[in-house]
């Protein structure tokens, strides 16, 4: 499993007040869109992730609908959050 540097950076420590763009798979464009929808911090997205009971399909679907994430981006984000949860939750 090849993880990006962003993924590793995020998963290495509690997210705290990190912005939503620090999530793996979320770049400038998607970050902006999420922020416009109110998901300005990573923990808010985490909240959504948890609300969807960490379900991959649902979360990725939600991400795609909310900010137009591609399959890869949503996969990266999901993986990032899941792993973070495994590590810190």
């Amino acid at each position: 499993m090849m993880t990006s540097q962003k993924h590793r950076d995020f998963v290495a420590e509690p997210m705290g007040e990190k912005p939503v763009r620090s999530l793996a798979g979320i770049g400038e464009v998607l970050g902006k869109k999420l922020e416009d929808k109110g998901f300005d911090k990573a923990y808010v997205v985490l909240g959504q992730f948890l609300v969807l009971k960490k379900d991959e399909d649902l979360f990725r679907e939600w991400l795609k609908d909310t900010c137009g994430a591609s399959a890869k981006q949503s996969r990266d984000c999901f993986g990032c959050l899941r792993e973070w949860c495994d590590a810190f939750l």
Partner: protein, 910 residues
Amino acid sequence: PSAAAAAAAAASAAQQLSDEELFSQLRRYGLSPGPVTESTRPVYLKKLKKLREEEQQPPPQQQHRTGGRSAKTRNNNNNNTAAVGAPPGAGAAAAAAGMGGRPLSGDLSYLRTSGALSRGLASAPDNPPGAAAAAAGATAAPALAAGGSKVLLGFSSDESDAEASPRDQASGGRKERAALQSRGGAKPAPLADGEAGPGQPAERRKPHAWWGARRPASAPEPLGAAGREGAPEDAEEGGDGGGGGGGGGEREPEGEELRWTSRPVNGSRLLPFSCRENYSDSEEEEEQDNVAVARPLFRDDSLLRPRPRRSHGKPPAGVRGEAPHPATATAGGCPGSDRAAGSLDRRRGPEEGGGCDPLDCSPIPRYRLNSKKPTPLLPDGDLTLDRKTNNHIGRGGFHLDPPRVYANSIPHSSLVASASSSPLGINHSNHTGSNHTYLKNTYQQKLSEPEEELLQQFKREEVSTPGGFSAHYLSMFLLTAACLFFLILGLTYLGMRGTGVSEDRALIKSPFDETFEKIQANEKNLMMNSLYKLHDRLAQVAGDHECGNSIQRRLSVQEVAAYLKDLGPEYEDVFNMSLQWILENGKDVGIRCIGNGSSEDLTNITDVQFLQSTRPQMSFWCRFRRAFVTVTHRLLLLCLLLLLCFVLHYVKYHWTKEEEETRQMYDMVIKIIDVLRSHNDACQENKDLQPYMPIPHVRDSLIPPPDRKKMKKVWDRAVDFLAADESRVRTETQRIGGVDFLVWRWIQPAASRDKILVVPSKVWQGQAFHLDRRNSPPNSLTPCLKIRNMFDPVMEIGDHWHLAIQEAILEKCSDNDGIVHIAVDRNSCEGCVYVKCLSPEYAGKAFKALHGSWFDGKLVTVKYLRLDRYHHRFPQALTCNVPLKPSNKHMNSMSHLRLQTGTANSQGSS
């Protein structure tokens, strides 16, 4: 319908599900959904939809889907959270827009035709109204194009090249407009036909319909038809293709399509009906770039054009006869960059001509007027065209336009002459100024008249010659004057040399002053006279000798005496005295006394045997000849000297150049070897690469394009050197992509595994972040740690790598004496290592040392484990209480850190 209604009802009902109902519905499908909040609602709705579809039958499912989606799109137009119908809704929206667009296109077509007609009838420059119409059309067209482009103009993006695709869209849009305005409103059927199918069928139908529409349109307006150059011609032939002479006619539309399909779309080229300003924009830049290309085109067009003309002997032949002029003119004005076949060129010619003046002919004369400064074209092409057009004048006399047009064109010949003759290279220094202005104008104009230019050229030649003559004469005159001057100078000089005898007289006279006291006056005169005579005689003799006429240079004393006696008896007496005087006189008087021996010491007159003149008197011609010979000899000598010098310099220069080239060659060889070696290394790692490299590729990667020609010699020498003297490189031939290449293969086996040393493995590489309250637990919770990401089990080789891992951990926590048990989970995909410490404090210290550090390129993370779980997993750890130490003092895993300055060694910021 009922099913659809029911489905629609269900869909709309789904819209109004409350959260609880949605929740329960989802539960029914076996899902265990999370809370339905405003953000999760759409996702769950989609899920519900999907689940419902899966349980239903496919046919009702389709209707349901479309109905539901259309309902959805109507309700939620842009919101992507209303995602149920969004993706198919986009397609439906496009379809709806397309359908809405089609009636709009019909309206637009009316607009366009009316605008076009008005444009045609207007005598004023029609560019502004055309521009306005085009602008109006342009704003509407993108909407149309956007909506209909998917369906209508699919062929343009299907068929043409990818790189031209944005232009395809644009030109496709224009084509759309063109097609629309062509249809006029007369034929909605072809409209529908043309729009019916994207891809080839539409394209095929479109030209036909377009031409079919053109034909009736052209009939009422003969002038207008003439304007639509290519179009009526094509329409004729298209119609003929439908009717009698079908072969030619049918060929052309196919050629048309072929061109449309095969060539990348260039809007100006393919659009007969594009607006002129668009056309002119693209034309201008094309003109400026490709004026040269216009010339061959002319030739092709001229050669090919007679054929269709002669095949159709109809009244519109006159049209066609006229057509080539704007056609060729515009072709010259707007040359294409690729001209695949003559027939295609031919097609493009008339079409481009049509494009330039789309709708009618009445602007043509004006156009021609404007284009009085045509693009410069080759005279031979013009000649042929002239011939053809003359044919047409004779044959198509029944049409009014050609003569009228020609009449218009001829008066402007004078203007055109200067412009057209400039490329001919005639010497017109006087007219270069006017040429430049005319040239500029040509670039701005599109049409040109070949026979006009022809006339112009002839006139121009006549005009230019007188001026040229004067200039020519002036230069010749100057040259001859200079030559004459130098000649006269030389002759004068030589003439002066020839008349040196008088000087000698003066010379003789001067030395007399000293030695004359002893001699009496009358004897003095006599002596002088005799001396003069003697001098002359001797000079003559010497001159004869010098000139090669006689062999004797000097006169013996007896001969001199005899000569003097001949002259007069009194001279004889004075002879001895003269001789004496000459001897005594040390200076050179023009006479030299020579004795028997070679010595110059003559003490007595009796020793004198010969007299010789030191200043021979020669004829002018002789002098000239001698002078000439001397000069030539000296010149030759000088030349030889120069040559020698030159040769020396050249040899030196050559030698240094050779040195330089050899040095460059060796540099190149070294670079090539480096490239090949590195390529070989890359091939070792990546087995997908070919182990050889084509020679041209290496050259192109080493030498930048501007230097390639310069370095060609160096490169070739390097190649030869490698072939001959480099054993590690083998030259062979390989077939790459179907083409044989000479390639180089590096054949030295990788000697040493020195790469391993380069990248140290299993070393600590620093800390990713400082540990503080946020990213680490505030206090140590348990004495057990789980360390993640220490290794990748897939990558590890050997049996004892886990020992290295253990060592690394121990070394990292070397100051920590509390580690009692380490277990490397060799099978974990996350690279987990379990550590047990004596107490939570030690665990905390270890945590700080390990968490967030880079090890072997991986970020290590640590977390606390519950003790009982740890013991459950590792029973042997229950009894461990001896602190572990690194096995040796080398601290290999810390070697990388030791090099760094201090910060890495700080075991966390505690």
